[in-house]
């Protein structure tokens, strides 16, 4: 018991009891348990709030009796209900501990925390007659709070720290009112966009699930009207100032000019932001989604252009005072205003982003949104998958990812047009292998054949949509989701092979000359290989592997490249056969040029894969050499003897149930590895073989870059060049005796490291 317990701390409660008599004489109503209560102990009145209701309560003081009862317990003995155990007790928040009890921050401030309404009543906060500098400062700070929220911090501790947002109707100044309404409404829309995408995780984004969402009675129409009015006002102000020529102006007028322009730019941005989200998420009366995207694109472009202008003027706004007293918050912002709505655990001090950084952050965000809009123009599912993969590789923020999901779903998966996904898949498969069922009129008209193939295409919708969804998730969470996806893809592959068999039977009946090869299965296999490879290589980016594990990772990736290359070779054969057949059929029509383009697409990918495969082999031989020279030691743990097998199987576990390509057991892997290691005798041979592989890769890449020069290829060329040099060095006997293992650094590319000698 604390010292204060010995003093008589008054309850500050009304001591009137209905019977008007002495409190201790108030009789307890008859309840079985109440007879165990001590007879002394005053009863006072109080109340508690249960949800919206208030319940009157009577409290009996039992401090002494409780204390004595506790003293009779043995040390470590707990009194608890049979359903309550130590396990539950562990999750309790410990009060009076500054690390866990956020209520203690509340106690430290000397002045009471007023709500916005109370502050306005007491004239403690300014709601009108703002100077331009004040307005610029407040709007910039609010924007920075928005950026901090989008970066993953809780809404309550960022955007809602602005008192003005709590009751927008009370703000007298039109400009500030418009800006605050715009931001408030945009936050609602942003939250619904993110929620609909469902691609966020705990670490990405803090959802306002504590039930505390600021509402306003201002309707959307009114909000837009207000924003428009203020926007036009500002435009008029800017025009008025700019009428005088430069030389006639004195310092003060020049400053005025800048201030007006700054204010105008900010309100324009707010208006664009709100209309962008409102239009994107609202119901579309008479326009198609593509038209919405076009308008949205225009808005994004305007916002993109505005932000650098705004950023230039952010120094004009006022900043919080740098005085030493505790109330040096920015005017209108109070981090503690929402403290009661914080979850009880882990009080964190959230730092709002610095204003210029916030503008940079939003600029990048808008750039990503612009990029995301490009997805609506793609026409085959393969190109869409590639687009999503590329988009994911820049590690975009959660809002951009949700926006991409939204663009995609609205364009291709809207309820009225379920067929469009199927069309995308069909087009992709057609481009890939030209299966006769999609191209030959005799087969196309066969009802049975189209039934079978339609069934497959419909079936593929699920896994493909799931794959696209995974690409929109946080990079670190993708692997666990891919593991689940591989099972779905396996099922799709099984279905594909069944369809292929049925189509084969049907084809032979119709036209004995045609053979249906496993066209559908091929496409399925191609994508499965791609995803498995991505799964393994993503581990490098996420820094999951120890360097002693690189061997089997690259080994398995090499194996997957084999499968993918054979898919592509077969696909190309099919395409060429189709081209030949179609030239036969349409002898005089010149369709060559169209077909040639498709063929060369596969050719480019084949070359790239070939190069990457050579690089993998290069790494494998390099590591063989390191092991031979004792530079890289196999991890030996005293706790598990089957160490490497365990690790191998753990890394490759999701591939266990994949239909095709089949899982390679550890024993098979070890067999092949040991065979290779005994085939070449010395480390020098390993190093020179490795150098040869890297050289081969480099030549292939240089060939590719002649026709298709992009950043990724040139990076790979640099990597291969460096590795060739390093391997040749090691082959010549450099640092033969050294036992330090060379480093694998992923500075240029996330998946293919440069080998550096220490």
């Amino acid at each position: 018991m604390s010292v204060e317990g010995d003093q008589n701390i008054p309850n500050g409660v009304d001591q009137n009891i209905p019977n008007g008599g002495d409190q201790s004489k108030a009789r307890l109503a008859y309840h079985d348990w109440q007879k165990y209560l001590p007879s002394e102990g005053e009863i006072v009145e109080g109340k508690i709030k249960l949800g919206p209701n208030t319940v009157a309560m009577n409290w009996k003081d039992i401090t002494q009796a409780f204390q004595y009862a506790c003293q009779e317990l043995k040390p470590g003995q707990l009194v608890h209900d049979q359903y309550f155990s130590l396990y539950e007790a562990m999750s309790a928040v410990e009060l009076m501990d500054p690390k866990m009890d956020s209520g203690m921050i509340f106690r430290n401030s000397t002045s009471p925390i007023l709500t916005f309404e109370e502050a306005v009543e007491q004239n403690a906060i300014q709601v009108d007659n703002f100077s331009p500098q004040q307005l610029i400062g407040i709007t910039d700070e609010l924007f920075a709070c928005l950026a901090t929220w989008l970066d993953g911090q809780p809404l309550i501790q960022t955007v809602y720290t602005c008192s003005y947002l709590h009751k927008v109707e009370f703000i007298q100044d039109n400009y500030l009112k418009a800006y605050c309404v715009g931001i408030l409404k945009s936050c609602e829309l942003i939250w619904s966009l993110i929620q609909s995408g469902q691609v966020f995780e705990e670490e990405d984004f803090c959802c306002p699930t504590h039930g505390y969402v600021l509402q306003t009675s201002i309707t959307n129409a009114k909000a837009f009207a207000l924003l428009k009015e203020v926007d036009e006002n500002c435009a008029r102000n800017v025009k008025k100032c700019s009428r005088k020529s430069e030389e006639e102006l004195d310092e003060e007028s020049k400053l005025n000019n800048l201030l007006h322009q700054a204010l105008h730019a900010r309100i324009k941005l707010c208006r664009l932001l709100y209309s962008f989200f409102h239009h994107l998420l609202g119901s579309r009366m008479n326009e198609t989604f593509l038209e919405v995207v076009k308008t949205s694109n225009n808005r994004l472009q305007s916002m993109d252009a505005l932000i650098p202008i705004i950023k230039d003027s952010y120094h004009l706004g006022i900043h919080p005072n740098n005085n030493q007293d505790e109330n040096n918050y920015m005017i209108g912002f109070n981090p503690l205003i929402c403290i009661k709505h914080l979850p009880s655990q882990f009080p964190k001090m959230i730092e709002i982003m610095e204003r210029s950084k916030a503008y940079d952050y939003m600029h990048t965000l808008i750039g990503r949104h612009l990029r995301a809009t490009e997805v609506v123009e793609l026409s085959t599912i393969d190109s869409i998958i590639q687009f999503f993969a590329d988009f994911s590789s820049i590690s975009p923020d959660v809002l951009s990812r949700s926006a991409l999901q939204h663009f995609f779903c609205e364009t291709f998966k809207s309820c009225n047009d379920k067929k469009s996904m199927i069309e995308l898949v069909k087009k992709a498969v057609k481009n890939f292998t030209q299966p006769p069922v999609l191209t030959y009129p005799s087969l196309k008209s066969s009802q049975r054949a189209s039934e079978v193939s339609e069934a497959f295409f419909e079936r593929s919708d699920g896994p493909i949509s799931r794959l696209l969804f995974i690409y929109c998730c946080n990079r670190s969470r993708q692997r666990e989701k891919i593991a689940a996806l591989l099972e779905e893809l396996s099922a799709m592959q099984v279905e594909a092979s069944q369809c292929d068999e049925q189509l084969n039977a049907i084809t032979e009946r119709i036209d004995s000359q045609l053979h249906h090869r496993p066209y559908l299965g091929l496409w399925g296999l191609y994508h499965t290989c791609k995803i498995m490879e991505y799964y393994l290589l993503l581990g490098f980016e996420l820094d999951l592997y120890g360097s002693y594990e690189y061997y089997y990772v690259f080994w398995y990736v090499d194996h997957l490249y084999n499968h993918r290359l054979s898919c592509l070779y077969t696909a190309e054969k099919h395409l060429q056969a189709h081209e030949a057949a179609s030239i036969d059929i349409r002898k005089n029509k010149n369709k060559k040029s169209k077909k040639k383009k498709k063929v060369s697409e596969h050719a480019l990918e084949i070359q790239l894969l070939d190069a990457k495969q050579s690089m993998c082999k290069g790494y494998l031989r390099a590591i063989d050499g390191f092991v031979k020279q004792g530079k890289m030691i196999q991890q030996q743990s005293k706790y598990d003897t089957s160490n490497e097998k365990l690790r191998y199987e753990h890394r490759i576990l999701p591939f266990l149930n994949v239909y095709s390509p089949q899982f390679i057991t550890y024993e098979k892997f070890a067999e092949v590895r040991d065979y290779t290691r005994t085939a070449l005798a010395t480390a020098t041979e390993f190093y020179s073989t490795s150098a040869k592989f890297f050289n081969r890769a480099k030549t292939k890449l240089e060939e590719i870059s002649k026709s298709n020069d992009d950043v990724a290829t040139s990076k790979l060329i640099k990597i291969t060049k460096t590795n060739v040099v390093v391997m040749n060095l090691l082959a010549s006997g450099h640092k033969k005796e050294s036992k330090t293992c060379p480093n694998f650094t992923f500075e240029l590319d996330n998946y293919f490291p440069i080998i550096k000698i220490q």
Binding site: M1, S2, G12, W33, G46, M57, N58, W59, T63, C70
Partner: protein, 81 residues
Amino acid sequence: MALLDKLLNRLLQVHLSDGRVVIGNFMCTDRELNIILGQCQEYSCAPDRESTEQPRLLGLAMIPGKHVVKIQVAVDVDPSK
């Protein structure tokens, strides 16, 4: 001991040493007077009939024994008297 058993799951109002008051269902206690309350609400001072303070909802909370000042239990008073 009988008292503590009978008090389990009852509504308790506990005053903390910094003046705050927490109200919750009595879940557990030990010899050191550490008390665990369920569905706990925190008020900055004891709510009387006129106060309008909105409590903070804490869920499951533990109050270290050394910070307990006063413990009260919710009782039904016989209105007929």
